[in-house]
Structures are given as structure tokens and as C-alpha cells.
Amino acid sequence: MGPFIAQFLTGLANAAALFLVASGLSLIFGVTRIVNFAHGSFYMLGAFIGYTVMQLLPGAFGFWSSILVAGLAVGLIGVIVEMLVLRPIYRAPELFQLVATFGVILVIQDLALITWGAEDLLGPRAPGLKGVIRILGEPVPKYDLALIAITPFILFALWYLITKTRLGVLVRAATQDREMVAALGVNQSWLFTGVFFLGAMLAGLGGALQLPKGGADLLMDFNILASIFVVVVIGGMGSLPGAFIAAVLISVLNVFGVRYMPQSTLVLMYVVMAVVLIIKPYGLMGRKEVAGEHGQVGEPEQPFSPFGRRGRLIVAVLLIALATLPFLGSKFAMILAIDIIIVCLFAASLHFILSLGGLVSFGHAAFFGGGAYAAALMVHYAGSPMELAFVLAPIITGFLAIIIGWFCIRLTGVYFAMLTLAFSQLLWSLVFQWGEVTGGDDGMVSIWPSPWASDTTVFFYLTMIIGFGGILVLRHAAHSPFGYALRASRDSAGRAEATGINTKRVQFVAFTFAGAMAGLAGTLFVFSKGSIFPTELEIGKSFDALIMVFLGGVKTLAGPLVGASALSLMQDYLTRFEYWRLALGLLIIAVVIIAPEGIAGTSQKLAARWGIIRRDEVQ
């Protein structure tokens, strides 16, 4: 009984910081509808700033004041981010802002590296709470007990703020219908800024509060990001009590998981999330999302139209120019081009489901990596030739998409995004931990193309044919009756159903198709590299694809290609510098602010305005 209780208490103590950070994310999302990827960075800054202030302020009073100071400081940083980066782009298409917050992550990573160095910082112990207390013979750190004691006060303070103050009333009202709140005379900009302050401050407090338990390091931001998303989704987006229950659930399960099923720890929370969302699609205490209820006013969607003659000509010229690349004789350039074509196909497949289908997937890497692993396993275990792998791996990925889609398609919006994320994480941890078959962390190597295609030039042309072939198929699908049905399902599910379209089935098929195409990209990838590692299944890979699609422009078919090329080239060029994250982050933020419709979208608009292309040619 003793160990059991001790572990339960540790779990509860861990929940305190997790809840603080997650509730901040939940508040920000609820009011501003921004999925703030940078929330983990606020948490990390809280830890670093708290550490520094603790060096300056001695004693117990100093310790606790430092935590408050760190919270306030991070709150102010949140305000700066909101005013400089997010304010200019509130009217951009939904979820576009997450690209900007991704840029913020990169900037904060390097700024923290510059300020605090690369070494992990050991958190100071809380004065007066250094030892342990024995409970039923088991040692429990005093600081854990202190955290458990503080948690009810945090809960009460937040509850009071949200239910009893005018700010809280406005926050809840804006969570439901922010346009109406503005029509009643409330300045949304300041409300948003206020909420950002509060949300960032909570993250900062969480980061500083966990210092004695975990210290401060540069990986904290990404490490907590997944957990807080999971907590917010399990609890129900925008629900603070839900976030609390979920934080406790996840923390306690984690502690027990580490103890009794160490091999399961990576997946445990995703399994819980998947189960909750399958049973309660809007989280434990969430509300159903009603489309349009939040009073978002965006421009109506421009319909895509097929390329005009001039458009086709431009594409043909570009392709021919690309095809002459091998004559330059630079192997390096060819390899870079191969990489870019592959990510273009990957991004295009995500764009298909995201833009046309209106389903934002946060877990598209499952299909890219899935395709790559399918091919690698076939080659490794069955000695399958490359040609067969190119046919079968995408089909296998399609089946994978059928399974995942079967669970996910019933959801929409952020919940869909999160469940796809959960499944991709499940797949990742499966590959990671099933080392006997997949090689685990060491990956799978020696997956080479057939002899005839092993020359770089030949493989380059092969990639061009398969890559652009796949993109062409996606384009055709977009302009086919199926593509129209998909867009109808996105724009008005009710009306589409009335005309006899089974919207869910249409989306299901589209999801499967997009998955298979991502699998094709993954297959190309594994043969181009000759190896595959679990990193290709990571969250980061899914995020890359999202950034590419949004950066290029969600509303144009050329967007994902432009975005993928731009991001790859930027990365390729910038990574040779020491602080490349800072540069890349600033670049991403700049693009997002200057071109809120993405690079392709904004250039096409400008071209149309200047009369270079006809308005209806904007596609």
C-alpha cells in the first residue's frame, strides 16, 4: 500500500505544473481560437527565468517570489508575442496563426540558448522543503506535498477569476462568440492581449514551479507540448475543470506507467486520449463545436479553378528547367532536389485533406513514415524489389489510413487534429519500442533502390516522375466530381447531405487517398536515403508538413509546393549557421505577417491586382 500511495502523491504533485500550463493553453485557445504551439516555450522560459531570479533572491521568500516574478515576466513576453506577431494576422484563415507560433518556438529556443547556454540547469531546492517525509514507510519529497497543497489554491484562484470577475465573464462570452462581444462594445484586441498575458503567465508559473523537480533545459518546450495538448483535449478544449481532471489522470497514470509498465510510457497518454475521444468526442467536459458559432468573419473561399493556358505553360517551363538539373553535374543539387520533390508530394497530400477537405491533421507523418517503414520492412524481410514496394507500400499506407480514419473522421476541428496526432504518436511509439522488428531507435538501413535506379541521376528522374505524377493525380482529384463533393462537404455539410452526398464517406475516402499519397512520398524517401528512422514519424515531421502547407498558402493548389520548396531551401541554407533557428523563426514570422495568405496565395493576389493574371485564374 505504501508505494502505491507514494506514487499516487507524486502523480498529484506532477499534475500541478501540468495543469497550470495546460489551463493557459486552454484559455488562449478558447478565446482566440489560436492553437499556440509556443506554449511549451513559455513554460521553458518560466523555468529559465525562475532559475535566474532564484539566484538573486535568497531564502524561502526569495524562492516563492521568484516563481511569481517568472510568471509575470513570461506573461509580459506573451503580450509581446501577441502584439507583434499575432495581432497582424488574426484575420488570416483559421489555424494559420499556428505557423507564426511555430516561428516563435524557434526564436525562443535560440534566445534561450544564447542567454542560458546549452547546459541543463539543475533546479534549486525549495528552502525549507528539502527533505522527504515518510508516508507508510515510503519517502515522499516535501516539495511534492507542498505542490499538492498549493494546487487547490491555484484552482480556486482560476475559478474565481473565470466565474466571478468581469474579465472572466468576457473570456467565457468570447469563447463562444467573439464577434458578438465586439458588437457589445468590448475591444477584442485588448481582451486577446489580456488572455495571452494570463495564459503565458500560467505557463511561466508552471515552468518555475517545477524547477526543484526537473530543472531547466532546452528540450522542455517540445517535451511538454504534447502532454499539454493531450491534457487540454482529454479535458475538453476551453474547460478548466476538464483540464484539471485530465492533468491528474495523465500525471498519475504516467507515474504508475513508469513503475509497472516502463515500455508503455511513451504511448500511455495517447492511448488514454484516443479512448476518451472515441467515447466522448469533445473531451470529458468539452462542448460540441458548432461551425460558425464563434463569429469568425473570413473571406469566403475562392473556388479553385484549373490552370489557364498561361499557367500550364509556366509549369511546363519550370519542369523542363528542373529536368536539366543533372546536366549541371552537381550531385549535391540533385539530392537536394530529390528531397524537395519528396516533401512537395508529402505536403500536397496533406493539403488535399486539409484545404479541400477542411480536416486539419496534426499526424500526417504517420503516413509518410508509415509508407517508408512499409517499404523498408518489405525489402528487409521479404527481399521485395523496389518496384513492388512502390506499388504495395502506398496501398498498405492506405489501409493504415482507413484504420486511423475510421476513428478520426467522426470528429472535426481541433479534436480531429488531436486524434490524428494521437494515432501518429501511437505508431511512432510502436516503431520505436518494437525494436526486434523495426530496429527501434537504430532504424532500418540498407534499403537501396534496384540496381538500375541506384545512380543518382536516374533516381532523380524517377523521383520527378513519381513525385510530380503523384501531385498531378492529387490535382486531378481536386478538380474531379469527387473533389467538388469534398469541398461541398467542407463548406456546408448540411447542404451537401441534402444533395445526396454522404459527407463523412467522402471525407473518409479523401483521408485514405491522402494517406496513400503520403505513403508514396515516404516510399520515395526511404529509397532515396537507403535508411529510415523513427524521426520520420515524429510530431516534428507532421508539423513540418503543416508549416509548409500554411506557409505556401492553404487556399491555392500551388501553395504546398511553394511552401515545401521554400521551407526546405531555407532550412538547407540556414542550418549552416550557429543560430539558424533564430533566423528561420524570424523568417517564418516575417513571411506570415507580410503574406497572410501564404506565399503562393499572396503572390497570386498581387499578380491578379497588377493584371499579370486574370482574376478568375487565381487558383
Binding site: E179, M180, A182, A183, G185, N187, Q188
Partner: protein, 233 residues
């Protein structure tokens, strides 16, 4: 008090308001009439800049408000009661009113929670109920009360009688007349000519976003062709 001049509003490429112009004088109740889809709601939203007119100007109390953000317009004294009501269903009645609360304004009646509960006794009984637990009529009262909390000098009422039982409609008419007697200026959009006649001093009829008639009800009655062409009586 309010002046619309050559307003043109669009939804995407759909041209909804077409050089629409009309005025409202201080203390007047004007009925904005027109069939379904004539552009009444769009007119109200264009005044509030919730739809941004492409061209034209809106002048309120001598100031050009066409480029102002919505919240600033609301703060300057225009209260908007939307057709879809848009009450905050997770908030209680009191909290809904709190969202609309603004500081007192000179020269116009100031409303407190208690004043509004006097005006709408049905709401008083249920003040701690959540918005979603209210009937349609109660929701309509709440949305008007919520807007009055901002102490507006001009009230925009979008089809307040829609979908409400006849007794409540009668009550609504009384309320509007009372607001008028307190010095409020009101623009009320309606399809119900009978109701409009009771509350309004003047009618503006629009069709396809253009002003087709502007005058008092006696003039309208003496011109049955206009009436029948643009209204479904």
C-alpha cells in the same frame, strides 16, 4: 442622427447593398421593411461594420464611423440586437447582461440590472439560469436587455418579432414605445407590417439592397402598388 450614404456591401462577389441611402432623425423610430433576403440584416451589419461596405459612408452623431472597428461603434452609442439573438448560452442571464454593460452616457437613459428586470419581469425570475435554458421569447428579451446595458442612444433591432408568440409581440411593441418615450432612437427591421405600423413613425422599404420607399405609413397606404411589390402582405 444616423445617415447612410450610397452604401455598397458584398459577400464575396455577391453584391447585396446597392447604393443604399437613408437617414434617421433623433428620437425617431424607423421601420426597415423588405422581403426575405432584401438586405435588412446586411444593412444593420454594415452600420456596425460587421460587414464592411466597399464604398459609401455611415455618419452617426456627426461623425463618419465607416472606418471604425465594431467595438468602437458600439461604444459610441449604437446598440445592435441581432436577428439570431446570439445570446451566450453558457452564461447566466446576469452574466449575459454584464457582457453588454458600459459606463453611463450623457443625454441618454442609463440602465441598471434592476431597471431591466423591471422592464422584462420574466428575466428577473430566471436571472441565474443559463442562456440555453431560455425560451425563444425570453432569449429575445435577453438580447434586447443585454444591448440596453450599453446605454445606447440608437438601437438597431433586427426583426424582434420573428418567431415569437403574439402576446409577447404585443409586449415587445409596448416596450419599444416605452424606449422611444425615453428618448431612444430606433431602427427596427421587420416583415410584419402590422407590427411596424404600431411602433414606427416612418418606413423605409428596401429590395435588392436599394431604397424603394421612404415615407410615413399614410403615404405607403395610398401607394398600394409599391407596398404589394416589395412587401409580402
Amino acid at each position: 442622427m444616423l445617415e447612410l450614404f450610397d452604401i455598397n456591401s458584398f459577400y464575396g462577389k455577391a453584391h447585396i447593398l446597392n447604393d443604399l441611402s437613408f437617414n434617421i432623425a433623433h428620437g425617431e423610430v424607423v421601420a426597415l421593411l423588405g422581403r426575405n433576403g432584401a438586405g435588412k440584416t446586411t444593412t444593420m451589419k454594415s452600420i456596425m461594420q460587421m460587414v464592411r461596405p466597399a464604398t459609401g459612408s455611415v455618419t452617426f452623431a456627426g461623425q463618419d464611423i465607416s472606418k471604425w472597428p465594431t467595438h468602437k461603434i458600439a461604444k459610441s452609442g449604437i446598440g445592435y440586437v441581432p436577428e439570431e439573438r446570439r445570446i451566450f448560452s453558457d452564461l447566466t442571464i446576469v452574466e449575459n447582461l454584464e457582457v453588454g454593460r458600459q459606463s453611463p452616457r450623457e443625454g441618454v437613459p442609463t440602465w441598471s440590472f434592476d431597471d431591466l428586470f423591471d422592464l422584462f419581469p420574466n428575466l428577473a425570475e430566471r436571472r441565474n439560469n443559463r442562456g440555453r435554458a431560455l425560451s425563444g421569447g425570453e432569449q429575445q428579451m435577453l438580447t434586447i436587455a443585454r444591448t440596453l446595458m450599453g446605454n445606447p442612444s440608437l438601437l438597431l433591432l433586427d426583426e424582434p418579432s420573428e418567431g415569437i408568440a403574439p402576446i409577447i409581440v404585443e409586449q415587445m411593441a409596448k416596450t419599444i414605445l416605452e424606449l422611444k418615450s425615453q428618448g431612444l432612437t430606433v431602427l427596427i427591421s421587420e416583415q410584419n407590417l402590422h407590427f411596424a405600423r404600431i411602433v414606427a413613425d416612418r418606413a423605409v422599404i428596401i429590395e435588392s439592397g436599394t431604397n424603394r420607399f421612404d415615407g410615413n405609413f399614410a403615404d405607403l397606404d395610398s401607394d398600394p402598388e409599391t407596398r404589394d411589390a416589395y412587401l409580402s402582405v
